[in-house]
């Protein structure tokens, strides 16, 4: 469903510190699969996920989503596609301090302008499904690391995306919590969602539910396993 053709991405273009984070990537991500990217830090894993997830545009090359070329879309339209198609779980969780778990979960839905009550119901369902039912009103900074991770997952799911993207999801978790995370993700995969992960944690990349693992080095794909 997602195709990358000779994708390159530069930062600080035209300046002395110009640097190509990705340098000619060809990749196909299949629907309903779990794909993991591994590689040392600076290898371009995160940049690749931002391009796949419509967070950024490639400097050159093509990105196709369900056959549609989205690489030339302005941010406004890229965002429209992104917020319906992708849900993100970040390494630092990136929750907004001072807001309750419930408010954090509902944030991605605000710009869509849907019905408020339906949105609250959906947030409630997600809270319960992720064993956060009793923590909905708690401010996120009062939650434990595992709870914060689950809030971040719930937030990624609020708009019911087809694809869930997780960047280094287990970097801040101990092994028990990392396994719990993988279990949740497996459940999502069973629901038919496409999962994309980046990690250098063998616990993740070698887990049984991962269908494909791609290795990156210096902005290029080195192996396809």
């Amino acid at each position: 469903m997602i195709e990358l053709l000779n994708v390159r991405k530069a930062y600080n273009q035209g300046r002395s510190n110009e640097f190509w984070a990705l340098d000619g990537i060809d990749l196909v991500v299949e629907r309903g699969r779990m794909t993991a990217f591994r590689g040392p830090s600076g290898s371009g894993k995160t940049t690749l996920l931002t391009l796949v997830g419509c967070l950024a545009r490639p400097t050159s090359g093509r990105v196709r989503l369900d056959g549609r070329d989205i690489s030339g879309l302005p941010e406004r339209f890229l965002t429209q596609i992104r917020r319906r198609t992708f849900g993100f779980v970040f390494q630092q969780f990136n929750l907004i301090q001072g807001l309750s778990a419930r408010d954090n979960i509902m944030l991605p839905a605000y710009p869509l302008g849907g019905d408020g009550r339906a949105l609250r119901e959906r947030a409630e369902e997600l809270l319960v499904a992720l064993r956060l039912g009793h923590r909905g009103d708690a401010r996120v900074e009062w939650l434990s690391g595992g709870e914060q991770q689950r809030v971040a997952i719930a937030r990624a799911l609020i708009n019911d995306p087809e694809v869930v993207i997780a960047d280094e999801p287990t970097a801040n978790l101990d092994s028990a919590l990392a396994r719990e995370f993988l279990a949740i993700v497996e459940g999502l995969k069973d629901q038919g969602k496409t999962i994309l992960l980046s990690s250098h944690d063998p616990l993740v990349t070698e887990a049984g539910m991962v269908d494909r693992v791609h290795s990156l080095r210096d902005g290029r794909l080195v192996t396809a396993g």
Partner: protein, 381 residues
């Protein structure tokens, strides 16, 4: 509800929540903003109320006042002038007036001494006077008291205070002393037939200028003063003073705009991170702009309301304590008067342009700069 409406509602909800999370920073801004609105609104409300007051007073004054000029100076009207005016077409009635100034060494202040017209609201009897409120305060007078005044001729006169004028229009009546024509002539030694000036009423307002022209022709040494001209002069003098004060406040306004710019561009790392997160989880630049717009609108509206209400109270309930000395007259007998409350659409629109507009302009670029944070910053950071 349509989608765009629920979207705005959600954005406003979020904005309120994030304003509340940064109370201290926002309170500081709100305070300065409110102060600016308060200052400007006070100047405007005060000026506007003064203009209305003057207009209300002048509404009942005669259309034309005629003064006689001798050597370029205001002089008494000699006998015979009144009759000669009666023949001018369009003049409904004419009447000689007697008034003058009296310096009272006791309180070191000037009074305006007047003979009330025949249809005046407060007629006086011989030997009695009606005095203005400020004068009554200065000399501690109440109805029934006796007041002695030494005339310019050196003779001492005693009057009984019949009444004290009420506060309604103290701006013009503060230092007033009303007495009968006979008392006035005796006090100032003005012989019968002479008057200070003449007032005319003209039936048709369109005719006033023609009448004035005819008077100038008939009595070449006279100077007709038209009510409209006085009104116009008041209007432009008050406007001018208000304008000057506003220009003096321009510095404050500029400082405020810079302050707003500073506040908006000096986003804390925390706020920057938040905007990055919002963009990463699906907010668009336009959504962030809208949220920030609502934030600005809420702050502006609050500051505007608070500042305006405070100014209203200041001007109409606390007698503009802060800048009475600048905008009012300079007499020793200081009028203490309550202005009639008046709110005016033009004024509110003007005030809006002086406060909300600069604030919005000053914050636009910083807000935009925050809103274009890269959506992938949250992941790379």
């Amino acid at each position: 509800m349509p989608a765009w409406l629920t979207r705005q509602q959600a954005l406003i909800d979020f904005t309120l929540a994030s304003l509340a999370r940064r109370k201290l920073k926002n309170l500081g801004l709100l305070l300065v903003y409110t102060l600016i609105v308060f200052l400007l609104a006070s100047v405007m409300l005060f000026g506007h109320a003064l203009r209305r007051e003057a207009a209300a007073v002048l509404k009942d004054s005669p259309e034309v006042i005629i003064q006689r000029m001798v050597a370029g100076r205001h002089d008494l009207i000699p006998p015979g002038y009144l009759d000669r005016l009666g023949h001018i077409r369009g003049v409904q009635s004419q009447q000689g007036r007697l008034w003058g100034y009296y310096y009272d060494p006791v309180v070191k202040a000037n009074y305006t001494v007047m003979v009330p017209g025949p249809d005046a609201a407060s007629p006086v009897a011989t030997g009695r006077v009606v005095v203005g409120a400020a004068m009554a305060r200065a000399r501690g007078l109440a109805p029934g008291n006796l007041i002695s005044l030494r005339a310019y001729s050196g003779r001492l006169f005693s009057f009984t205070v019949a009444d004290v004028l009420d506060h309604d229009s103290e701006l013009v009546s503060a230092d007033l002393v009303l007495m009968t024509e006979a008392d006035f002539r005796a006090f100032f030694e003005i012989t019968a037939g002479h008057y200070t000036d003449i007032v005319l009423s003209v039936a048709n307002p369109q005719e006033v200028r023609n009448v004035a022209a005819k008077i100038s022709a008939a009595l070449p040494d006279s100077r007709p003063i038209l009510r409209d001209e006085v009104l116009r002069t008041y209007e432009s003098v008050f406007n001018w003073r208000e304008g000057i004060v506003l220009v003096l406040l321009a510095g404050a306004l500029l400082a405020f705009a810079i302050f707003a710019w500073e506040k908006a561009s000096g986003l804390s790392a925390e706020e920057k991170r938040e905007i990055g997160i919002l963009k990463a989880i699906g907010w668009e630049t336009g959504d962030v702009l809208k949220m920030k717009f609502w934030e600005g609108a809420l702050v502006s509206l609050t500051a505007f309301l608070l500042g305006y209400v405070a100014a209203y109270l200041h001007v109409f309930h606390f007698a503009s304590a802060l800048f009475e000395p600048v905008l009012k007259g300079w007499a020793v007998l200081y009028p203490r008067f309550e202005l009639t409350p008046a709110v005016d659409g033009l004024q509110v629109a003007t005030l809006f342009f002086f406060t909300v507009f600069p604030y919005t302009v000053a914050t636009t670029v910083p807000i935009w700069r925050a809103a274009i944070t890269d959506p992938d910053a949250a992941m790379r950071g």
